[in-house]
């Protein structure tokens, strides 16, 4: 069995002559939470969908759990779970019925009550899907992805449109999955999400991977400026900045502590954002 859950070499994908993915390499270790980051239209979803087997590739080598996802073999589908960006389930079944229905497709499904527990839908167990809130439906999407007790779970923008507390809950859910030993491949455009959840991240811009590493590595690799937090009595805060400026130190910004992944992201995707403004 290969050490890496996912290995990708020189992957490309063109749609009618337009190259959406332009030769990317990446690997995801077993048991790792990996986040693929990038602006809209950078090739995130195309890449994930190739890995899931939803899309064919133009060229390159792809191995997911030792399978070629392009062949869409049933034994491959039995070992992965997919939570698509936009998806639905039968709205006239209950939460438990939907999960049970999907459990029925797999040779060794995860027990129903455990799934409901992991996604936190215990109280909604017997509610019809159509009565659930948006956040609860998204949790059900994850529950359906977990039905077959997959080794590898794909989460395509799992928290888009969530309010802050729903996002925190979803993060807790992903951390639970990591504790269960699952490999998680997630895409997101929330940098704080990647920083909290991911063991490693890769940044895709214009169909190419421009940076790869742990969130901390990536955050520190870029930029000549640095942020650091000092805790001083609030009355002294302004004085500190004032004194620093007096001795010729160029203090540019004073609020958020620490250099974040978001800083790195904004810097690395700057060219593309500027292109779009024009």
């Amino acid at each position: 069995m290969p050490d890496n859950a996912i290995e990708v070499h020189a992957l490309t994908k063109s749609y009618e002559g337009v190259e959406a993915v332009r030769g990317i390499d990446l690997h995801v270790a077993r048991g790792e939470v990996f986040a693929l980051l990038g602006p809209n239209g950078a090739g995130k979803t195309t890449t994930v969908e190739i890995l899931e087997g939803h899309r064919t590739r133009t060229s390159g080598d792809v191995s997911v759990l030792g399978y070629d996802p392009g062949k869409a073999e049933r034994s491959f589908k039995e070992r992965i779970g997919i939570v698509l960006q936009e998806t639905g389930v039968n709205r006239f079944l209950t939460v438990a019925e939907v999960i049970d229905q999907f459990r029925g497709f797999y040779p060794s499904p995860r027990p129903l009550d455990e799934i409901i527990e992991v996604v936190g839908l215990k109280e909604k167990r017997d509610s019809l899907v159509r009565k659930l809130s948006g956040g609860q439906q998204r949790r059900l999407d994850v529950a359906v992805g977990l039905a077959g007790d997959p080794e590898l779970l794909f989460l395509d923008e799992p928290t888009t449109g969530f309010d802050p507390s729903a996002r925190r809950n979803a993060w807790g859910m992903v951390q639970t999955l990591r504790d269960l030993g699952k490999t998680v491949f997630l895409t997101t455009h929330y940098m704080d999400e990647a920083q909290v959840l991911a063991d490693r991240v890769a940044l895709i811009v214009g169909g190419k991977i421009v940076a790869q590493g742990t969130p901390t590595e990536l955050a520190q690799r870029t930029g000549a400026d640095e942020r650091r937090a000092f805790t001083v009595p609030s009355t002294d805060a302004d004085r500190l900045v004032g004194l620093a400026r007096e001795v010729g130190i160029d203090v540019r910004e004073t609020t958020p502590p620490g250099r974040t992944l978001e800083d790195a992201y904004l810097e690395l995707t700057k060219d593309q954002s500027e292109e779009r403004v024009e």
């Binding site: 899931e52 087997g53 939803h54 049933r74 034994s75 589908k77 039995e78 992965i80 997919i82 698509l84 936009e86 998806t87 639905g88 389930v89 039968n90 006239f92 079944l93 019925e97 229905q101 999907f102 029925g104 497709f105 797999y106 040779p107 019809l128 359906v144 077959g148």
Partner: protein, 256 residues
């Protein structure tokens, strides 16, 4: 796991969710009966209706005609529209990413639609016997069931193929109705074609609905119009064509 068992399980959930939507279930059954009543009110007393040269009463005409209409509605219209909605909502794509064989998923829907079609034909036949004195074709019953099943399979396959020309869910009802309603009007279903120009009849005969309505009429008609296997064979051939087109063009992903 065996595809047949998986189909059975899917059928169980299809059926469960069908009855959980009472408004939809009620009108699925009320719709053909409404047509039966309305057409009988307007044309039921006409005895001039001539089908293939044989005069029959309006009521005797409408029971098999609406039975044929029921099969077309329950299978073609229902499958074509609902599949586009499922495709747009991402439900089909999600199923595609699981180990459930595509054939199990589709077959469960088709079997469910066929059972509904069978129930509708039974309902229309019984209503015809009670309210309009139209004989239940007891001697021809196996033929009627065969006609329902062949029609259900063929119109389901055509419904699947039809989704290929519907771009999105909003367009599904108008596109499906624009396909099916004109054919229902020129195929001896809603009104018997008596004085229509001959080219219109020739045109209608290209499509499966005319042939389907006539195989149903022949099976029901007590005056002894022969049961013509030719009509049902044409419907079956259309079904095979629909299946081949569906295999080539059916999409599991929303169109963008």
């Amino acid at each position: 796991m065996n595809a047949a068992i998986l189909t059975g399980k899917q059928l169980f959930y299809e059926n469960k969710s069908f009855w959980r939507n009472p408004a939809s279930a009620f009108f699925t059954f009320a719709f053909p009966l409404m047509f039966l009543v309305i057409f009988n009110l307007i044309f039921g007393n006409n005895t001039v209706a001539r089908v293939d040269g044989e005069p029959i009463s309006g009521s005797t005409f409408y029971v098999p005609a609406i039975a044929a209409f029921s099969v077309v509605t329950a299978c073609f219209t229902n499958i074509s529209i609902s599949m586009v909605f499922l495709r747009d909502e991402g439900i089909l794509k999600r199923v595609r990413g699981t180990p459930l064989p595509a054939v199990s998923y589709l077959l469960a829907r088709i079997i469910h639609a066929s059972v509904i079609a069978l129930l509708l034909v039974a309902l229309v036949t019984v209503a015809g016997a009670i309210f309009y004195d139209v004989d239940i074709p007891t001697a021809e019953l196996p033929k009627v069931i065969l006609i329902v099943l062949v029609g259900a399979a063929a119109f389901s396959a055509l419904g699947l193929a039809h989704t290929a020309i519907v771009p999105n869910a909003d367009a599904a009802p108008p596109v499906v109705n624009a396909t099916i309603l004109p054919l229902l009007f020129i195929s001896d279903v809603f009104i018997p074609l008596e004085d229509a120009p001959s080219w219109l009849l020739t045109f209608a005969k290209i499509f499966p609905i005319w042939h389907y309505a006539h195989s149903m009429l022949h099976a029901f008609d007590p005056t002894g119009l022969a049961f013509e296997d030719g009509n049902l064979l044409i419907v079956a051939a259309w079904g095979v064509a629909g299946l081949l087109l569906a295999m080539r063009f059916f999409s599991w992903e929303p169109r963008r």
